[in-house]
């Protein structure tokens, strides 16, 4: 309004000319577009990183097993290399390196370097033949190359030991007599004989591992039985004598059986040893390879697309179903898959019931107050405790305390057992306390006492008595004089007193229980109160309402909690390194017999760490790291998808119709 506006007198006129508030055009900031871009950008960045990671892992992981052509390179110095190109990069060679070259090379290197500001290309050649050259890989700069080609008969050989071998077939030898002198003929014969040789090889391994293993386990058990009898009845007693006699029998049987099996193995070895292939390496050396040492061989430069897929899937098959070889850098990861799945299942078996019960108490029974708030905060904080702390706890509590107790009884955990008399007195006391607790509960919950002070006192007293009874029972278990361990005979070698799949599962259950509790609590809170009221109005008790209405309704949410817990548990590595995961587990853990739960196990996450960072042959291990990572991701995704499908089936039951 201008300052020269006429002075107004009446209210009506004042209203008519009241100065208008200056309005700004709504700014961009007020519209909020920038924040939309910011939020969208943040999401896009996060998605990009995740997708990038997945694409990298998927690409590298799936391309590991694809057969690439074998390249033969003749360097200017006259060295001949044969192998597969695994990596290509550019680098700036130091001046000294170029100066040391021959004049022809120097010129070539200078020309290449000048063309690209001093950058030259080099390739990493997997040359294998570790037993001859002492190296798996060789770098070849482009300026070093004098001649390059893909020889027709270059053969890629994967061996059980010593890694890859590259060469051309030269002769096929049976019983020391050369059968074929040309590469084609030798390769033909190789293909003909290799499957049967491999079959024999497999039978040999099975005889060694399973049958001989069983024999020695039998003998070992008999020996433990003797030791057990000695511990139980004292030396020189008839029981010991009987056990010893049994041991002798078992030994005799084992010797006879062992000789038979060893004979069979020798025969198989001799059979296999007849077939050999003579290969010529790139620099002309002849190597005589027994067929039994070869896992797989293929002429890399003659493969059709179908053959390549054949090699590819055969390698995947080996990866998924076989044991690892060569310090885990070759072969399969089946024990690791098995260990991971078994551990995750055991873990969810433990964590889901406990988590759900705890959440039920917190949400349905406990009265909200400061104590419950503190408990909730503590649970949420528990989820943030570094996982290695759980590992340390698991090692200290489960392995060295509970496990040691299971192995060797109270004395093993430095507890002096009570005398039988006081133990029985204690047991009687425990039974009496429990009885009184029950009595107090019954009396306190009687109709006429409900709500009265006496009733309340009886209720509280019952709780205290229950707790006392519980504590007493724990004390009596720990100080039991009649128990001296299930595995005493094996001591000082621990059975459960060291890391194992059971303890790892329990440790991870502790780690993931907050996840389950929080998810379950949310699911319970999401059950509409009208349903609870409807149930109460029908005369249902609280427990009946929970069991019949609340829990089924909350089941999808509980499943979500289980999914999250499994995903977290299956990927966790730090704690299980302390409580049972090992680099190489010779025997798979299992559920039955129960003793197998004490076995240490292989785990995909730990396998990645081990292969990637503890391997002597890191270049060869690199692709395996990607493949194993891909497998772990796929495994976790598979576990999740199963649970999601299960959840969807449950959820369909609770679909509410629209009206």
């Amino acid at each position: 309004m201008s300052a020269t506006a006429p002075v107004v007198s009446t209210p009506a006129e004042a209203a008519a000319v009241r100065p208008k508030r200056t309005r700004w055009r709504t700014s961009l900031l007020a519209h909020g577009e920038p924040s939309v871009w910011l939020c969208g950008g943040a999401l896009a960045l996060a998605l990009l990183m995740i997708v990038g990671l997945l694409v990298l892992v998927a690409y590298q992981g799936t391309s590991t097993f694809w057969p690439v052509p074998a390249v033969q390179i003749k360097t200017a110095q006259g060295k001949v290399l044969l192998g597969e190109v695994t990596r290509t990069e550019t680098y700036k060679p130091e001046q000294g390196v170029i100066d040391a070259l021959t004049p022809a090379e120097k010129e070539k290197a200078r020309a290449e370097a000048d063309a690209d500001e001093g950058w030259v290309r080099r390739r990493l050649l997997r040359t294998g033949n570790f037993d001859l050259t002492g190296t798996h890989h060789t770098w070849v700069s482009d300026f070093q190359v004098a001649a390059e080609g893909e020889p027709e008969w270059a053969l890629v050989v994967e061996r059980f030991t010593w890694g890859y071998f590259y060469g051309t077939p030269h002769k096929f030898v049976v019983d020391g007599k050369p059968q074929a002198e040309t590469p084609e003929a030798a390769w033909q014969l190789f293909q003909e004989h290799h499957p049967t040789v491999l079959e024999r090889q497999r039978r040999r391994v099975r005889l060694e591992k399973v049958e001989l293993g069983e024999l020695s386990a039998e003998e070992n058990n008999a020996r433990l039985a003797v030791r057990d009898a000695e511990l139980r009845y004292g030396e020189g007693t008839p029981e010991v004598a009987a056990a010893e006699q049994r041991l002798q029998e078992v030994r005799k049987h084992a010797h006879a059986e062992g000789d038979r099996i060893r004979g069979e193995i020798t025969a198989l070895n001799q059979q296999n040893d007849r077939f050999r292939i003579v290969l010529r390496t790139a620099d002309g050396e002849e190597v005589n390879l027994p067929l039994a040492r070869i896992v797989r061989a293929y002429p890399a430069n003659q493969l059709s697309t179908g053959d390549k897929w054949g090699v590819y899937f055969s390698r995947w098959g080996e990866f998924l179903t076989d044991n690892p070889r060569e310090a885990n850098t070759e072969g399969g990861v089946f024990p690791a898959i098995f260990g991971t799945v078994l551990m995750a299942l055991l873990m969810s078996l433990v964590v889901v019931p406990f988590g759900v019960m705890a959440a039920l108490y917190l949400r349905e029974y406990a009265k909200s107050g400061p104590i419950i708030s503190i408990v909730r905060i503590a649970i949420n904080n528990l989820a943030g405790v570094p996982s290695i702390v759980f590992g340390v706890f698991g090692l200290g509590f489960f392995c060295y305390l509970v496990g040691a107790f299971v192995d060797g009884g109270p004395e093993r955990v430095q507890v002096t057992p009570l005398s039988p008399l006081s133990w029985w007195l204690g047991l009687t006391a425990a039974v009496l306390v429990g009885f009184f607790a029950f009595l107090a509960y019954l009396q306190g919950s009687q109709k006429e006492r409900r709500g009265t002070i006496l009733g309340r006192l009886l209720g509280r007293g019952s709780l205290v008595l229950w707790l006392g009874c519980f504590g007493l029972v724990i004390f009596l278990i720990v100080t039991i004089p009649y128990f001296d361990g299930f595995y005493r005979a094996k001591l000082p070698n621990p059975t459960f007193g060291t890391g194992g799949v059971l303890w790892a599962a329990l440790t991870l259950a502790l780690l993931t229980v907050p996840v389950v509790i929080v998810a379950t609590e949310e699911a319970l809170a999401a059950v509409p109160n009208s349903m609870r009221e409807g149930s109460y109005a029908c005369g249902a008790s609280k427990w009946q309402t929970i069991r019949r209405i609340v829990l089924p309704r909350a089941m999808p949410g509980i499943m979500t909690g289980m999914i999250l817990a499994m995903a977290r548990g299956a990927g966790e590595v730090a704690p299980i390194m302390l409580v049972g995961a090992v680099k190489l587990a010779p025997e798979l853990p299992g559920i039955f017999p129960l003793e197998h739960l004490s076995r240490s196990f292989m785990h995909l996450g730990f396998h990645i760490y081990d292969v990637g960072f503890q391997s002597p042959n890191s270049e060869a291990a690199r692709p395996m790291v990607y493949t194993t990572t891909l497998l772990l991701i796929a495994l976790v995704a598979l576990l999740n998808i199963t649970a999601v499908l299960l959840r969807r089936r449950l959820r369909r039951r609770f679909q509410v119709s629209q009206f």
Binding site: R450, S530, Y536, A537, C538, G539, F659
Partner: protein
């Protein structure tokens, strides 16, 4: 938990005079000419309930005996006394927040679930106290059926929904369950619509069907009283009509106490009506009389739409 103030003893309850009943024939049209007491009621002054003499002739299934209730410091019910006749439909009407639903939820002690509630007084179901300390609430609730504002079928099949009260009693006999289910569904006028899909989810029904399912569930346990808390407020007119017909049919066999917002619904479905205002029962009498010829001025003003 509910902290209780002294409770009327069993004997006191038996000899309780009940709400003040004017002598027969001497019903004066006292209130119509008098000034509105709305302000006085709002200030918390006590009001005596005007009870029509017709109620004295009825047999009572449920007696509410000078019942008061506090939500924390706020009193929501003021010495409410009502005798609910057996085999009839009794409606509770009144403006929002007058305590109708609270009173209804006190009858089957659903308000026990709230922490901040305090009560005084008692109720009696067929002569047995509801709020005596020795009463087993679970057993008590089994003697009543309740239907809520929003249909709340359980996430299970229609069959399981209906026989829920029997299930929680631990009845396993298949024949008995089937029979109870059919009887309840027939009583709730739902049998013909769902008899072929008893094992489909109860949540797949329409809103009106869901509410009738809830009624079937409420009567499956053969309750002594049926409590309906605005059963039609979430339904469309057609579904409402069906439920109202149903309530009419249920009368006689069941004693029904229905809370409603809708005065027309009260006049259509009920035999007796109680008008409540700010936690007080102002007038209680036969529905036709209350709606056409009320004896208290506040009732008259409310049903003619002058307030509320």
């Amino acid at each position: 938990m509910i902290s209780q103030q002294p409770i009327i003893s069993q004997q006191a309850m038996a000899s309780h005079p009940g709400p003040e009943t004017p002598p027969d024939g001497a019903v004066e049209k006292i209130a119509i000419g008098e000034p509105l007491r709305l302000g006085a009621i709002a200030r918390g002054e006590s009001v005596t309930t005007f009870v029509h003499p017709e109620l004295a002739k009825e047999e009572h299934v449920l007696r509410i005996l000078t019942f008061s209730l506090w939500y924390g410091p706020k009193q929501a019910l003021f010495d409410v006394s009502l005798d609910i006749p057996r085999g009839k439909v009794t409606a509770l009407i009144g403006p929002s927040g007058c305590g109708k639903s609270t009173l209804l939820r006190c009858v089957n002690r659903l308000n026990d679930l709230l922490d901040t509630i305090r009560i005084r007084g008692d109720m009696a179901l067929n002569g047995e106290s509801i709020y005596a300390p020795a009463v087993d609430v679970i057993e008590l609730r089994k003697r009543m059926g309740m239907v809520f504002q929003k249909p709340n079928p359980f996430p299970m099949s229609i069959f399981e929904n209906v026989i829920y009260p029997l299930r929680i009693d631990g009845i396993r006999d298949r024949a008995a369950l089937n029979e109870a289910c059919e009887k309840a569904l027939r009583s709730a006028a739902l049998w013909d619509e769902v008899k072929d899909r008893l094992h489909e989810s109860g949540l797949a029904l329409s809103g009106g069907q869901q509410q009738r399912l809830c009624i079937a569930r409420a009567i499956a346990g053969e309750p002594e009283v049926l409590l309906l808390d605005e059963p039609c407020s979430a339904l469309d007119p057609i579904a409402t009509g069906k439920i109202e017909d149903l309530i009419h049919e249920l009368a006689g066999e069941y004693s029904v106490l229905i809370v409603t917002h809708n005065m027309h619904q009260a006049s259509r479905t009920s035999h007796y009506t109680a008008f409540m205002y700010l936690g007080n029962v102002i007038e209680f009498g036969p529905t036709p009389k209350l709606f056409t010829d009320p004896s208290v001025r506040e009732t008259n003003d409310y049903i003619t739409g002058r307030f509320g």
